[in-house]
């Protein structure tokens, strides 16, 4: 029995429900999520939790024991809040599948004063290979110096530099002697190749010396090159790090690093990845990243999403922070850090078959978000949200919520460049050119003159060379991505 779980919410019933009410709710849940009828990846987990909840609540003695524990823990007053908006609330009954977009915002339950100011357990893993020579390494050093100055006494900092091998420049410690730390950073010289695995492994070892759920445990990897042959080992290490509650963020400088690899590395921990065009922007990006980590409200957030039968989950995309499409398998899906300053926003696309449904309420599926709220006494938090729409026989005029439309309009741009890359990977260059031209048109419509020109250049480049230019590919990807975070967060 886990008093942290709100079994009533999981079964979708009120706290004072009768035994008959429980039984009916359980039957309904089984029809929606039983593995025999629902093969969706999240459904297995949701049904397992429903079973556990029913086992406890259907036993009179265990239920009263649970109620007593739960009232002590203060259940029903979650510190996390989900805000849901749908592209429409009414669906006309049709014999063909229909599309429903759902935007979920995850944020602190209270409006202000809830940034936990959790201490950081931070490791900077820095590339000092030959290609970093000159301005890049100089800018990197001064960026790190600034971070050292910004660290708070309760934070823990470690710094690892790597090329062919890794070296622990600064072992994990409270930054009480910033001067010495900065001097050590200054000793980095450009030499050798880029072996990211070595750097990551040494970084994780430093993080683990103080790894604790009181901290925001995070590795920031900064590189300008490709790692050869050890990608798989790096990804494996990132997954291990994630299991131990450590996040990884990647920052790539210039054109030569491997973006899909860095994305995969970061997303397997719920972290983020960024493209830095010029060396002098390193400081700004690094500061932003670390400030947002320091403003963490909850850590190690996870998402479970289970559509009911007759509904398919087509895609999940994180809109903010650090937009990226999330893989729906395996579940739970790592979401990383929930900021106290701006909500985490997710866009879901469902395909719904309404043909056999009667008019009235239609159950779409369940969203289940769990996270460890930093600083709160009740650390593990979980919110369950059931999604429903109404089936009608006549068309209903509805205006989609402005926030959802805005997010979607930018998401479409990001997807166009994604599809162009897929087409190139599949050898369909005519399709890739077409997608890039569409992307250019939409970017111009959005007033994104520079990115639009970049898309046009790439369209021409693809038709001539059958590939994207290294620089253009990254510009478009991270450029369309950076359009996504919405201004004016926190207004609901």
């Amino acid at each position: 029995m886990d008093p942290v779980q709100d079994y009533y919410a999981i079964l979708g019933v009120a706290h004072n429900t009768t035994e008959e009410g429980l039984r009916l709710a359980y039957r309904a849940a089984a029809r929606r999520f039983h593995p025999d009828v629902n093969k969706a990846p999240g459904a297995v987990i949701v049904f397992r939790d429903i079973n556990t909840a029913y086992e406890v609540l259907s036993d009179r003695q265990r239920r009263s024991e649970y109620d007593r524990l739960a009232s002590v823990q203060g259940l029903g007053t979650s510190n996390l809040r989900l805000i849901t908006s749908y592209s429409r609330r009414f669906l006309k009954r049709l014999d063909e599948p229909q599309l429903l977009y759902t935007l979920i915002k995850i944020q602190p339950a209270l409006e202000r004063g809830l940034t936990a100011d959790a201490p950081l357990n931070l490791c900077l893993v820095l590339d000092h290979s030959t290609s970093m020579k000159g301005a890049r390494l100089q800018h990197l050093k001064s960026a790190v110096h600034r971070i050292v100055d910004e660290c708070r006494p309760e934070d823990i900092l470690s710094i690892v530099s790597f090329s062919d091998d890794a070296e622990v420049l600064v072992p994990a410690q409270h930054p009480t002697d910033p001067r010495t730390i900065k001097a050590l950073v200054s000793t980095m010289r450009p030499e050798g190749a880029t072996a990211i695995y070595q750097g990551l492994r040494a970084g994780l070892a430093q993080i683990e010396r103080f790894c604790d759920s009181r901290y925001v445990n995070h590795i920031v990897l900064i590189t300008d090159g490709r790692t050869y042959g050890d990608e798989e080992e790096c990804l494996k290490l990132a997954r291990e790090a994630h299991l131990r509650g450590v996040g990884v963020s990647g920052m790539g400088i210039g054109e030569d690093w491997h973006d899909n690899f860095l994305d995969a590395l970061a997303s397997s921990t719920g972290g983020s990845s960024t493209y830095i065009t010029s060396a002098d922007a390193v400081s700004r990006f690094l500061q932003d990243r670390i400030r947002s980590l320091a403003a963490a409200y909850a850590e190690r957030a996870h998402l479970i999403v289970a559509p009911t039968t007759r509904v398919d989950l087509n895609s999940v995309t994180r809109i903010s922070p650090n937009p990226m499409s999330l893989s729906v398998e395996p579940q739970p899906i790592p979401l990383g850090t929930i900021s106290g300053l701006s909500p985490t926003m997710l866009m879901f696309q469902f395909h719904i078959l309404t043909g056999e449904a009667g008019p009235g309420e239609f159950y779409v599926g369940r969203i289940d978000v769990s996270a460890e709220v930093l600083g709160a006494t009740n650390r593990a938090e979980r919110v369950v949200q059931d999604l429903t729409v109404t089936i009608v026989e006549e068309d209903v005029e509805e205006e989609p919520p402005a926030e959802l439309l805005e997010a979607l309009s930018k998401l479409v741009l990001y997807r166009l460049q994604d599809r162009a890359r897929e087409a190139i990977a599949e050898g369909d260059f005519a399709e890739a050119t077409r997608k890039l031209e569409y992307l250019a048109t939409r970017l111009f419509e959005n007033g994104e003159e520079e990115l639009g020109q970049a898309a046009l250049r790439e369209a021409r480049y693809v038709s001539q060379t059958q590939t994207l230019s290294d620089e253009g590919a990254k510009r478009l990807k991270y450029g369309t991505r950076s359009l996504l975070p919405l201004p004016g967060d926190r207004n609901d």
Partner: protein, 166 residues
């Protein structure tokens, strides 16, 4: 199913954006796409207030309005309708000869571009011309057809014309 008015891609009911070309279908639902009037003689063709229809029926003809020309040209595109410049030396004759409109000085190739009739659509393809084909300001990659819409601006080298579906 709903069809994107820009690229004719089919999508599910409830889609707010075209998955294929990124067009917002929501604005479209409000009917902001006026059909362009032919009498509109203003010179400001490049400022587009919306997109014309992409539907091109078998009985439709195309009116070609060359910039600064007095008379529009009406053509009936065949399956492959070549636009270019007549050249006595090589004896090549395009379906639409733009020589009277200064094709030579404006860099139009002999076989510059072609209109292609598809099922209820019309597209344009650049035939690897020396100075390029531009559709609404975008240069086309050679041999890759693009869908045409009522009111589109086409530029062959430096020669600009608009097309209207009739």
């Amino acid at each position: 199913m709903i069809k994107c008015p820009y690229c004719q891609h089919s999508m599910m009911e409830g889609a707010l954006f075209c998955e294929e070309c990124g067009l917002s279908l929501w604005e479209d639902a409000e009917g902001q796409v006026p059909t362009r009037k032919l009498e509109d003689d203003s010179d400001d063709f490049s400022v587009k207030s919306g997109w014309g229809t992409a539907t091109f029926q078998p009985r439709n003809q195309v009116i070609v309005h060359v910039r600064d020309a007095a008379e529009p040209i009406t053509i009936t595109p065949t399956a492959e309708f070549v636009i270019g410049r007549r050249d006595a030396a090589s004896g090549m004759i395009p379906d639409l000869d733009l020589t009277p409109h200064g094709a030579l000085e404006k860099g139009v190739s002999r076989m510059h571009a072609a209109l292609r009739r598809g099922e209820d659509v019309l597209s344009i393809v650049d035939l690897d011309s020396a100075n390029g084909t531009y559709l609404n300001g975008q240069r086309l990659a050679a041999h890759q057809p693009r869908l045409l819409r009522d009111g589109d601006e086409i530029r062959l080298g430096k020669l600009v014309f608009h097309i209207y579906f009739k």
